[in-house]
């Protein structure tokens, strides 16, 4: 046990140290501007983008939450694989247009885009607030990952978690996006090594894949729960599909994925990455199966915390020193995305709330300062999510974030293709979708801990009066409500002859690429 803690601590400290050094890496003349701090100057090539985007998409969520769901519910947890398969083609179609229009108009956030496209500061504010709030549970999920590792190493109480986040907060504060981009290399190498060892070594110890799945089958056969099993059943197939699609749609609406994509050098870098990133999906699938390995190895979670099954599995199967390495991989794997997410949320605050509503004539240095403070506030918000919401599976923290962020899809993703929607309709749709989503989440209980509310993201269709046991991803239904209201609202606004907001973008802005005279490197700051 001591060996584990020592190795974990040493690796963790080395990597945190790198974060501080990163502030000197590729150092610009002036880091005290938002573009430098928040987007790393926007000149990342393929490799860095790959690590950066991969780093924030595959997180502690991957290592801890997905296998925990597979451990507890079986096939449903594997939704993470189709989710990360369909997300890349989607990005190739959608986000690539955001890259172009952002580089023509000097936009840094999704809310910037909405403001330019629909000429509505109110809608932009809604998009910004949504992005900030939705990011908090996602960061919370990373905290849960670190927590699970610390629990397994026998560290209890809240103190270790507080220390870990203090380190994170300190180096993000210091280095901005440069810190996580550099650390992402180390993190990914660590994770690849641990996973390759885990998926070769552990099944061999457990008598092969066949017996692992047999053990899982036996476990699910023995439980009374109707929703678990090695395969999907008639009632959770819809949930599985909507969860995969909904999560994929949500993923690239998150401010942090947008940040990663915008930081690429040109459109080809993005496209190339979309074909290279699925390498992570294979890894994710193998990690998900760690949940079954834990079943076969007879691992029991600590208390009722299923998040501890993977760390427990490592602890049992690996020699102490390698378990320490694995724990460090999980811990750092939580740190990197948490940093990127909080920076992206902070950018949103500064660009779309601070500069729009609080201090219009803010200097670059003031903006960067406001961003740094906002990123701290977002991390505190994440801690509050953990304390206030306690879902059965921690992955639901991410899925709850998904329900929230999906409500910006009509304005951001559809807005990249069409300006047909009226700003009033979009605002009405957002309001209705958000209300519906919150209402559904509030009414989902968590039977494991006897909580009546915010227990998961699987909404039973029977609650709508339908005679079925089928469940559906709450975010998906909420988005449907949003779209319908936006559609009707637009028709009403048009017939009432309400004026459209001015559109600052032109059709060919959406296809501009590096080398185009209108495409700036976005060193242009306060002129936008």
């Amino acid at each position: 046990m001591t060996t584990e803690i020592v190795i974990f601590t040493v690796l963790f400290l080395i990597v945190s140290g790198m974060g501080f050094v990163a502030s000197r890496w590729r150092r610009p003349d002036d880091i005290a501007s938002l573009h430098e701090w928040g987007l790393g100057g926007r000149n990342f090539g393929s490799w860095i983008t790959w690590f950066l985007v991969g780093g924030d998409l595959y997180t502690a969520y991957t290592f801890v939450a997905v296998p925990a769901l597979v451990f507890g519910a079986g096939a449903t947890g594997f939704f993470a694989v189709p989710y990360t398969v369909i997300v890349y083609p989607l990005v190739m179609i959608v986000l690539i247009r955001l890259w172009s229009v952002s580089h023509v108009h000097g936009l840094v956030t999704p809310a910037d885009f909405v403001r330019a496209r629909f000429g509505s500061p109110t809608l932009a504010l809604l998009v910004a607030v949504t992005g900030i709030v939705a990011t908090m549970p996602y960061i919370a999920l990373q905290l849960v990952g670190i927590e699970a590792v610390l629990k397994t190493m026998g560290v209890t109480g809240d103190l270790p978690l507080i220390i870990a986040f203090a380190i994170l907060a300190a180096y993000t504060y210091q280095s901005g996006l440069r810190a996580p981009a550099l650390i992402a290399f180390v993190k990914d190498i660590l994770i690849y090594v641990v996973i390759l060892v885990a998926v070769i070594y552990i099944p061999a110890q457990l008598g092969g894949w066949g017996s692992i799945f047999d053990a899982a089958q036996a476990k699910f056969d023995a439980t009374p729960a109707p929703t678990d099993g090695v395969l999907l059943n008639a009632n959770n197939q819809l949930q599985y599909v909507t969860l995969a699609l909904g999560s994929a749609l949500a993923l690239f609406l998150y401010p942090h994925s947008v940040t990663g994509v915008l930081a690429s050098k040109n459109r080809d870098v993005i496209k190339r990455n979309m074909s290279a990133l699925p390498a992570y999906s294979v890894l994710l699938g193998l990690i998900a199966l760690l949940g079954y390995m834990a079943i076969a190895a007879g691992v029991e979670p600590i208390g009722t915390d299923v998040n501890t099954v993977v760390p427990q599995l490592f602890d049992r199967m690996f020699p102490d020193w390698f378990a320490g390495v694995a724990f460090a991989a999980v811990g750092i794997g939580a740190l990197v995305p948490a940093a990127i997410m909080s920076i992206a949320a902070a950018n949103l605050f500064t660009r779309n709330i601070y500069r729009e509503y609080i201090k219009r004539d803010a200097t670059d240095a003031q903006e960067a300062a406001a961003s740094k403070i906002a990123s701290l506030v977002v991390k505190v918000g994440a801690v509050l999510f953990i304390l206030l919401i306690d879902p059965q599976f921690s992955i639901d923290l991410q899925l709850i974030g998904g329900v929230i962020i999906l409500q910006t899809l009509p304005s951001v993703a559809l807005g990249l293709f069409t300006r047909w929607f009226h700003r009033a309709g979009l605002i009405a749709g957002w309001t209705a979708g958000m209300a519906a989503g919150m209402l559904m989440l509030y009414n989902i209980a968590n039977p494991a801990t006897n909580h009546a509310h915010f227990g998961s993201s699987a909404f039973a269709l029977s609650k709508l009066g339908l005679d079925t046991k089928m469940t559906i991803y709450a975010g998906f239904l909420a988005l449907a409500v949003n779209l319908i209201v936006a559609l009707l609202g637009t028709l009403i606004a048009r017939s009432a002859k309400l004026a459209d907001g001015p559109d600052a973008t032109r059709t060919d802005d959406y296809t501009a690429d590096q080398g185009d005279p209108r495409v700036h490197d976005l060193e242009v700051t306060s002129s936008t």
Binding site: V81, V85, I86, P89, L90, L231, K271, S275, P278, T511
Partner: protein, 67 residues
Amino acid sequence: MTTPRTDRSPWNWLLLLPIAVPLIPALFNAVEPRLFGIPLFYWLQLAFVLLSVAVTLVVYHMTRRAR
């Protein structure tokens, strides 16, 4: 002055394939045939990753702009 650029390319339709296929459980919701003891449900969905890689690579190369 550059000629107006466009995203429209018939190759982009190919991207719908890796989006749609993983969303049809009827294709993979079965145990047999197993591969190395892994049920179809799991290995086939992992194989969809390769499908996605192949399609995105093809689209990337076919829609790449000449500089």
